[in-house]
Amino acid sequence: MKNKIIMFWAIVILTIISIAIIKIKPIPLGLDLVGGSRIVLEAQTTENISKITQDMMDGLKTALENRVNALGVSETMVQQMGDRRLLIEIPNVSDPKLAREFLGETAELEFKKPILDENGNTVGWESSGLSGEDLSKAAVGTDSAGRWLITLEFNNKGAAKFAKLTREFKGYPIAIYFNGESISEPVVQQEITAGHAQITGDFTHDGAKKIVDFLNAGALPVPAKIIEENTVGPTLGADSLDKSKFAGIVGLGAVMLFMVFWYRVPGLIADIALIIYSLIVFAIFKMIPVTLTLAGIAGFILSIGMAVDANILIFERTKEELKSGRTLFTAINAGFDRAFTSIFDSNMSTIITCAILYFLGSNIVKGFALTLAIGVMVSMFSAITVTKNFMHLMFGTGQLKHPALFGLKESDINEAYEATETKREKAKFGVLD
């Protein structure tokens, strides 16, 4: 009996710790609940780039991180998936279109020199070798007339290239291309050696700002294409969260009522165990931390079903053992012991499926598998250890005086034990510790 009391206090302490963790740590919510964009980009091979290397991916990641940061939202994430894909998560994005535009463009800035015919007329443009890579900084500014323009500051290498270009083509136009489109074609007035330049064009403030953000973030080392996108508006996210919470509470409440109705006192004990179970599971979610998504919540609610299943198995078995005339104490022990193999085997098969889902599934599926697996593992503890402990403390030893406590009728119970029992089992179920 002493062991049982120690166990009881251990359970109480564990519960208090769980509540404390739940109170202290916030739970991160997935994009489908808070709203936001989830975008998968894939690096593309081109004529010049036949193979995507890890260096390119690192460069791509840095450039995209810079761009995402320029959006000015917190808790963004850029993460590599596989060999040539990047996953980008932007929570609370107000304009998904902006994000989409921002990520997909390569943002190549190029200065082009004119191809001149014998009369000195410009007949076309060719690369001058000066590009966005030679920039150290770009900014939005205005000229004396108040028009928007872009100021560029070159690094040393860029300044030298720019000086050479302006010296060579003094009096001729040069072209500034952005993403393959000419945005300005100024005529060179004089050689510029200071490493500064201005792009005047027909810019709006937003247009100029966008180009500047792109230039500062850096061009993508390889072109990248959006291959998957999922954007959830904040209203839908809040709606889903509210509804899932409500559904969870209704579901849990209904199950608890059912248990009390069907199993009476043991049902009530199972309900308390279920509350402890929920607290422990949530504490674990927060400690890992598990980002809670809709699928994750579904996994958790499902694991409640499995936790209850374990108790149903045990109680049904205990009832049977009581019916066949065992004493209360041995009936409870036999119920737990004999139901254990079923619980273990069935939970193992669930964990096997969860493991496969976790390693093979997409991100949504991963969240589901993780919460379900944690839930099933904790349920092995709560449904077996916690319930058993409470049952023993509640009922003690001796005969069952009021069968109604178990939802049984007086007439259901046999006088003496009649089931076949091995000696080993007798020792196992009938001895007090």
Binding site: E229, T231, K243, I312, S346, I352
Partner: protein, 329 residues
């Protein structure tokens, strides 16, 4: 009256009426099976189910609306979309559960179209223009798009996941029980999955319900659950065989085991169905189909563990006894 295998109250006789139960299973599976074959003939993809953008690639844009949308209006929107070169638009109106909160969304207009490699923003803008012309208060609540290459990969991965999960379960059961139990459990799982896929095939034909990667997740969960139920019955058969194999016939043991676990099977399914029912009726609109798969799967899983798996176990035993008898003769 004692409570043992020899005189368990027989509520259901699975062994005696086994042909009845097997026929019932057949009747349950038949409509779905026909729907799958029909779908394979009718759909351009030749798939037994309507496959969603997760697996084929495509874009879905969803708008929240405060007013109802008539069928006629849907037709008009489709015509306008087609006029603007939006390829194969599929328009659906989803009705979230009514709720009193102010943030609640009344209607969701969902538009499904092709994935555009280059002009993603442009085509979304085009659609939005058409929608907001008719419904000025419409707001984008969700945009999902998947490229066709990725879609194919997701599909292959999902199939691998299902196959591996089945294999894992069969191996585990072979280790813990016998191979014949594992194989019967496998047939029972197959039975359950076939039923759920069949129902979704019918739903696809009738209401245009598409399956996505959440569907596969739900199927995998159903596998886990259904094998739960089957294991509980098998575990009981295993236990009863240990104690009573000399006193009672195999058929009686199977029958008794099913009846002994009956209350548990029904109660467990009931509690799980209660939580799932709450999710279905009160939960978010995005998880509705997901929950429906599980409700169907758990209901059929309970049925199959009682009527299909145990019937097969008894049948298997009869056949092997008959074979042995033949060999002796």
């Amino acid at each position: 009256m004692s409570y043992s295998v020899l005189n368990t109250k027989k509520i259901i006789d699975v062994v005696k009426y086994r042909w009845v139960w097997l026929t019932l299973s057949f009747i349950l599976l038949l409509p779905g099976f026909i729907a799958m074959i029909w779908s394979m003939k009718v759909y351009p993809t030749h798939s037994p189910l309507l496959v969603g953008i997760d697996f084929t690639g495509g874009t879905i844009i969803q708008y929240s609306l405060n007013e109802d949308v008539s069928t006629q209006k849907i037709g008009e929107i489709r015509t306008k979309l087609l006029a603007k070169d939006i390829e194969n638009p599929v328009i659906q109106v989803l009705k979230p559960v009514a709720s009193d909160s102010e943030s609640a969304i009344k209607n969701i207009l969902s538009i499904r179209t092709q994935f555009s490699e280059t002009g993603q923003n442009e085509s979304i803008d085009k659609v939005s223009e058409i929608i907001t012309a008719d419904y000025p208060d419409a707001q984008i609540v969700q945009v999902s798009s998947v490229g066709p290459v990725l879609g194919k990969q997701l599909f292959v991965n999902s199939m691998i996941a299902v196959a591996l999960a089945l294999l894992g379960i069969v191996i585990y059961l072979t280790l813990r029980f016998h191979l014949e139990f594992a194989l019967v459990a496998f047939f029972a799982l197959f039975h359950d999955v076939l039923f759920v896929i069949g129902v979704f095939s019918i739903l696809g034909l009738l209401y245009g319900v598409h399956i996505d990667s959440l569907f596969v997740t739900a199927i995998l969960t159903v596998l886990g659950f259904s094998v739960h139920d089957t294991i509980v019955v098998f575990d009981r058969i295993r236990e009863n065989l240990k104690f009573y194999s000399k006193k009672a016939s195999y058929d009686d043991i199977v029958n008794a085991s099913v009846n002994q676990t009956l209350a548990r099977s029904i109660n467990t399914s009931l509690t799980t169905l209660i939580t799932l029912g709450a999710l279905y009726f009160f939960g978010g609109v995005t998880t509705k189909d997901f929950v429906l798969v599980m409700i169907l799967g758990i209901a059929i899983g309970t049925y199959s563990s009682i009527f299909f798996a145990s019937t097969l176990v008894a049948l298997w035993n009869d056949i092997s006894i008959a074979k042995k008898a033949k060999a002796v003769n």
